[in-house]
């Protein structure tokens, strides 16, 4: 059934935005927004970059690799930040993850 709850984001997670959560560029205000049930979130630049990588295929580890290479920054620090940000989003119910089918 529905989106998983109580997600624990780890390096191996393959998160994605659920159908009802939309990342969109707001032309009027010239900012990125996340549209969710009765919520509009304003992600910062880094969050937007991370969220655009959340396609349900890439793992959080892959994202950290990619961002570390792009910004020539230490992978471990990036990984910690990315996990914290995604966990916050997951706790609010705005993130889901693909899981292996068990049945």
């Amino acid at each position: 059934m529905a989106a998983s709850r109580n997600i624990s984001v780890s390096e191996a997670s393959r998160p994605k935005l659920p159908r009802h959560t939309r990342l969109k560029f707001d032309e009027t205000r010239q900012v990125w927004v996340i549209l969710a049930p009765e919520r509009v979130l304003a992600p910062d630049e880094i969050a937007v970059e991370v969220l655009q990588l959340c396609d349900g295929a890439r793992s959080v580890g892959d994202m950290a690799d990619q961002l570390a290479a792009k910004y020539a920054a230490p992978r471990e620090a990036i990984l910690t930040d990315v996990i914290a940000m995604l966990q916050d989003l997951a706790d609010k119910g705005f993130l889901t993850e693909l899981r292996e089918k068990t049945s």
Binding site: M1, R5, H20, D26, E38, L41, M85, D91, G93
Partner: protein, 400 residues
């Protein structure tokens, strides 16, 4: 990351209102950016008769409602000027035969759509059609956790059972679900069970909304007002549940302002971040605003654009900012924190919307009104005046 919409309703439970994103350094009229979300009250018709209904006492009759084409034009205009979310509400929005068409249009113009419903008119087929049309979120109101209390409050037999069914369909269709529970003296004892019901229904969010006393609810205040003990217990239950259910169920809590010392920042401040459109097309600073007499609200049927009405109409500018304030608001250090509370409540209880909301301890009327509410809460009056187009019907002695 900041949440820039939470609390845009009367909740006042907002962690932050994100005005930084919306406000700019332009002229006064242009300071107030277009709201992120707009409430579209499609109709005042409703199969329920809840005694605390937030609709005005003077309900718009079906013949005055905007047509399908008029609503579509409104939706297009809203999207164009920067509104991001639309809340389809009422009355009961599913009483409109064109709801699927309107949701589809909202999707087509890029609006994120929420359905705020009593759910009793929904069928699985219709809900499925709404999902296919791009509906993003469903909020269902509950009047209790079991039929005995819930159906009596709603004034409709089998309402509770139908709601439970519709909530299950919502999750089967993988739509996010918010359970909205309006709380008062006669159902607060069910709060723990309502929280569990929301978990069992696999809801994402629960709104625990204490009744706000204007319009119908003010007429029913003696039957609805909770006791202080109930409110203290409520806060304890909500706080405990919020911690226990973190990551499972988000809980928004609306406190009853009669028992607060400080008034709520109603609507985030008059004309600052919210407007709604009434069934007949009036553009209003809040859904109760028409209860304030002497204000002329412009309609989407007028020659003015919605953006013009928002920025320039007298009704929106009348209580914007702090220039309209009298004492004790005028010199109060909190004047830009809560903007003197709720204008509708100030009008209903003092006869002048520019007075301090009596929910504020600094209002000269606070003590009197608070004591009266306290007496009502301890009283024996439990009969409801049910909401309807006939001006209300008093519940019979033996209920229903």
């Amino acid at each position: 990351m900041s949440d820039i919409l939470a609390g845009s309703k009367t909740t006042g439970a907002a962690p932050s209102d994100g005005l930084a994103v919306l406000e700019s350094q332009r002229s006064t009229a242009e300071t107030f950016g277009i709201p992120l979300a707009v409430l579209a009250e499609l109709t005042h018709r409703c199969p329920l008769q809840c005694p605390y209904c937030s609709n005005p006492i003077e309900l718009d009759r079906a013949g005055r409602e905007l047509t399908t084409e008029e609503w579509k034009k409104v939706l297009s205009e809203l999207a164009e000027i920067g509104v991001l979310q639309i809340h389809f509400s009422g009355g009961e929005p599913t009483a409109r035969k064109d709801l699927v068409e309107l949701v589809q249009h909202a999707t087509d113009v890029g609006l994120y759509s929420n359905l705020i419903t009593s759910a009793v008119l929904l069928t699985k087929e219709r809900l499925s059609a709404l999902a296919d049309a791009g509906l993003c979120h469903v909020q269902i109101s509950f009047q209790g956790n079991e039929p005995m209390v819930a159906d009596r409050v709603a004034g409709l037999k089998n309402a509770h059972e139908k709601k439970i069914e519709a909530a299950k369909w919502t999750r089967e269709l993988d739509l996010p679900l918010t359970v909205n529970a309006v709380m008062h003296r006669q159902n607060l004892h069910q709060l723990s069970d309502i929280i569990q019901m929301a978990v069992d229904l696999d809801a994402d969010r629960l709104e625990v909304a204490n009744v706000q006393y204007y319009g119908w609810a003010l007429k029913n205040r003696a039957a609805l007002m909770p006791t202080i003990e109930q409110i203290e217990e409520t806060s304890r239950i909500v706080e405990e549940a919020a911690v226990r259910l973190k990551g499972i169920l988000a809980i928004d809590y609306v406190v009853p302002d009669y028992y607060a010392l400080r008034p709520k920042k109603c609507m985030g401040g008059w004309g600052r971040q919210f407007f709604n459109i009434s069934p007949a097309g009036k553009v209003l600073p809040c859904h109760a605003a028409e209860s304030i007499t002497g204000l002329d609200f412009e309609s989407v049927r007028s020659n003015h654009s919605i953006a013009w009405i928002w920025q320039n109409s007298d009704a929106f500018n009348r209580y914007r900012g702090i220039g309209w304030m009298k004492e004790p608001c005028k010199s109060c250090e909190f004047r830009e924190i809560d903007f003197g509370g709720c204008r509708c409540q100030a009008f209903a209880l003092t006869g002048d919307a520019a007075n301090t909301d009596p929910a504020c301890a600094l209002s000269p009327l606070h003590e009197t009104i608070f004591k009266q509410a306290e007496r009502e809460a301890e009283g024996e009056t439990n009969r409801f005046l049910y909401r309807n187009f006939a001006g209300g019907t008093l519940e019979s002695e033996n209920g229903a």
